[in-house]
C-alpha cells in the first residue's frame, strides 16, 4: 500500500513537471514569436524609412547606357549573326510581368523557366520565392472555405511599364543589362484591407503600430471585407546571361509559338509546357536567362 502511494505521488510529480515544462515551452514560444515578428517588422520599417529619407536628401548616381553600344552590338553580330538585342528587350518586358504574376498568384513556374538557376540565390530571387510561396500557402488556406466565405484576395489589376532600354552588353562574358521601369497595381480585398496594406508600406514605427492594431481589430471583429491597394513601382536593371560561345538559333522565336512535338498553338503566354502533349516550351530568346535584378536608385 505504501509503495502504491509512493508510485502515485511519483506519477503526480511527473505529471506536474510535464505540465510545468509545457507551460514554459508555450510561454517561451509566445515570447520568441513576438520578438521575431516585431523585430523583423521594426528592422524592415526602420530601414525603409531611412532609405526613403536618404533618397530624398541625396539620390544615388544612375549608370546610363554604355556610349559604345553601337560598336559593341556590331561586334556581337559579327560573332553571332542572328544576335538580336530586341529579343532581350522583349524578354525583360515579359519577365517583369511574370514576377508580378508570381507575387500575385503564387505561380512561379514561369520564372523558373525564364531565369538561370543562380537567380534564386540573389536577393531578388529569394524575395520572389518567399513572396510567391506565401501566396500559395494563403491560397491553400482559403481553399477550405466555401466560395462565398472567402474573405481574402489579392488581385493583379494593372501593370504598366516604360520602354525597356539596353544599358550594356559584354560579348565575351555573354552578359546583357536591360533597364526597366514599371508600376504594378494589386487590389486587396479583405477585412481590414486598408490597415493591412498600410502595414506593408509603413516607414515609421508609429505608422506600423497603428496599422497593425487596425488590421488586427478589424480581423477579430470579423468585419466586412474592404478594398485597398498595393502598388510596387521602380526602376530596375535586369541582367541576362547565356553560356559563353553560344550562338542565337533563329528558329527559337518561331518555335516558341507552336509546340514542336504536336504542333498545337500555346494558348497561354504564361504556359511553360504544351497543354496537349506536356512537351516543354522552348524559350523565345533562346539560351538567354535572367541572372540578377538590381535596384536603380
Amino acid at each position: 500500500m505504501v509503495s502504491g502511494m509512493v508510485l502515485a505521488a511519483g506519477a503526480g510529480n511527473a505529471a506536474r513537471s510535464a505540465v510545468g515544462v509545457l507551460v514554459l515551452v508555450i510561454i517561451a514560444g509566445w515570447a520568441l514569436m513576438f520578438a521575431v515578428l516585431f523585430g523583423m517588422l521594426i528592422y524592415v520599417t526602420v530601414l525603409r524609412g531611412r532609405r526613403q529619407s536618404r533618397k530624398r536628401e541625396a539620390p544615388g548616381p544612375v549608370v546610363s547606357a554604355d556610349p559604345n553600344l553601337p560598336a559593341v552590338l556590331a561586334q556581337a553580330r559579327h560573332a553571332d549573326p542572328y544576335f538580336d538585342e530586341q529579343l532581350l528587350l522583349d524578354a525583360s518586358q515579359l519577365i517583369c510581368l511574370v514576377i508580378f504574376a508570381a507575387m500575385s498568384t503564387g505561380d512561379e513556374e514561369a520564372i523558373r523557366y525564364l531565369a538561370a538557376r543562380s537567380f534564386w540565390s540573389t536577393f531578388f530571387g529569394r524575395y520572389t520565392r518567399s513572396a510567391s510561396r506565401s501566396v500559395r500557402l494563403q491560397r491553400l488556406q482559403e481553399q477550405g472555405r466555401r466560395a462565398g466565405s472567402r474573405r481574402q484576395a489579392r488581385l493583379p489589376v494593372d501593370y504598366q511599364a516604360l520602354a525597356p532600354e539596353l544599358i550594356s552588353l559584354d560579348v565575351r562574358q555573354q552578359r546583357a543589362c536591360i533597364r526597366v521601369s514599371f508600376s504594378q497595381l494589386r487590389a486587396v480585398v479583405a477585412p481590414g484591407a486598408q490597415s493591412q496594406t498600410a502595414m506593408a508600406s509603413a516607414t515609421s514605427l508609429s505608422s506600423l503600430a497603428v496599422s497593425f492594431g487596425g488590421a488586427m481589430s478589424e480581423r477579430m471583429n470579423n468585419s466586412v471585407p474592404g478594398l485597398s491597394w498595393l502598388s510596387w513601382a521602380g526602376k530596375y536593371d535586369l541582367v541576362f546571361t547565356r553560356p559563353p560561345g553560344t550562338r542565337t538559333d533563329p528558329r527559337a522565336a518561331i518555335a516558341n509559338r507552336t509546340c514542336s512535338s504536336c504542333g498545337a498553338t500555346y494558348g497561354s503566354e504564361l504556359a511553360t509546357t504544351c497543354a496537349h502533349c506536356r512537351t516543354e516550351r522552348p524559350v523565345a530568346w533562346d539560351t538567354w536567362r535572367l541572372a540578377d535584378i538590381a535596384v536603380v536608385d
Partner: protein, 296 residues
C-alpha cells in the same frame, strides 16, 4: 504544380495542418444544434470539444508558427531583409492614384528638335501617321481589355509588349477581374520625340472619353471606375531601330507589311503570313512598346 499538390517544407505543412484544424474547430455555429433534436452550445459535448480544441490551438500557436518563421528567416537572410526594405511599395489611395502617372511633357522646342532629328534620317517620316495610328490603337486596346483577348493588338504592339499584355489579361481573368466600358480617342498629340544611338522614340498622348469599370466578379466589388462618362489621357510610346525608314507602302501604321508591302496579316508571333518576316520587333518599322494609362 497546383498548390494543393505541392509538397511544402515540413514547417509549412505543420502550419497548414494547424490552420486546417483551427478551421474545423471554428466551423459551424455553436448557437445552432448539429442536427434536429441535438443540444445547443456548450450543452452539446461535440461543440464543447470543438471550443476546447480551438482554445488549445490558440495556446499552441507559436509551436506551429515559429518553425516556419525561423526557417524563412534563415533562408532569406539579413541581406534579403535589407532588399525588402528597398522595394518601393505604396499602399491605399497613394498606390491607386500614384499608379500610371504620365511622364511630364518636355518643352515644344525639345519635341520639335527630336522630331527633326528623326525626319533628317527618314524623309518619309510623318508625325500625323503616328497620331492617327495611336487613335486607332486606342480603340483596339479598349476592345482587348473588355474581351480579355489581346489578339486584336497584335498588329501594332511590339513582341514584348504584346506578350506582357496578353499575360496580364490572363492573370486578370484567372483572378476574375473583368473590365466593362466604352471609350474612344477624341484627340492625340505628340508629347515626346527622341533619337538615341540605338532607337528612335515618339510618345503620343491620346485624350480619351467614355466610361470604364473594373469589377471583381465573385464579390461584385467595383475596383476602379464606374458607369459615369469621364475624360482621361493615355501615353502610347512608339519606337523603331535607328536606321529604319518609313516604307513606301506606309508600313504598319498604314496596315501594310513593312517588309513586303502586302496587306497586313500577322501570325501570333508577329510574322507576316506572306513573306514570313517578323515585323513587330521594331527593326523594320514603328511598334508600340509602352502603353500608360492615367490613374483612375
Amino acid at each position: 504544380m497546383p498548390a494543393d499538390r505541392e509538397k511544402f517544407p515540413l514547417p509549412e505543412r505543420l502550419f497548414l495542418a494547424y490552420t486546417a484544424a483551427s478551421r474545423w474547430a471554428t466551423g459551424g455555429s455553436i448557437r445552432r444544434p448539429d442536427s434536429p433534436g441535438r443540444r445547443r452550445g456548450c450543452a452539446n459535448p461535440f461543440a464543447l470539444f470543438k471550443i476546447l480544441l480551438f482554445l488549445l490551438m490558440i495556446l499552441l500557436l507559436p509551436i506551429f508558427v515559429l518553425p516556419m518563421m525561423l526557417v524563412r528567416l534563415v533562408e532569406s537572410g539579413r541581406q534579403s531583409s535589407r532588399y525588402g526594405s528597398s522595394v518601393d511599395i505604396t499602399a491605399g489611395d497613394e498606390a491607386r492614384w500614384g499608379h500610371g502617372i504620365l511622364l511630364p511633357v518636355p518643352g515644344d522646342a525639345v519635341i520639335r528638335s527630336g522630331g527633326a532629328a528623326i525626319a533628317n534620317s527618314d524623309p518619309g517620316f510623318r508625325v500625323t501617321a503616328l497620331t492617327d495610328w495611336a487613335v486607332a490603337a486606342t480603340a483596339l486596346n479598349c476592345q482587348s481589355l473588355i474581351s480579355g483577348d489581346a489578339t486584336c493588338t497584335r498588329t501594332f504592339m511590339s513582341n514584348g509588349l504584346y506578350r506582357a499584355h496578353q499575360a496580364l489579361l490572363e492573370l486578370r481573368a484567372r483572378s476574375e477581374v473583368s473590365c466593362a466600358g466604352a471609350w474612344r480617342a477624341v484627340g492625340a498629340t505628340v508629347v515626346g520625340a527622341t533619337r538615341s544611338q540605338l532607337v528612335e522614340e515618339v510618345r503620343v498622348r491620346v485624350h480619351c472619353q467614355g466610361w470604364r469599370m473594373e469589377r471583381h466578379e465573385p464579390t461584385g466589388l467595383i475596383l476602379r471606375g464606374g458607369p459615369e462618362v469621364a475624360s482621361w489621357s493615355e501615353d502610347l510610346t512608339f519606337t523603331r531601330s535607328v536606321g529604319a525608314v518609313t516604307p513606301a507602302s506606309g508600313g504598319l501604321p498604314a496596315n501594310r507589311c513593312p517588309s513586303c508591302g502586302a496587306h497586313l496579316d500577322l501570325d501570333p508571333g508577329g510574322a507576316c503570313r506572306y513573306c514570313r518576316g517578323v515585323v513587330t520587333a521594331g527593326n523594320h518599322d514603328w511598334v508600340l512598346v509602352s502603353w500608360q494609362r492615367e490613374p483612375w
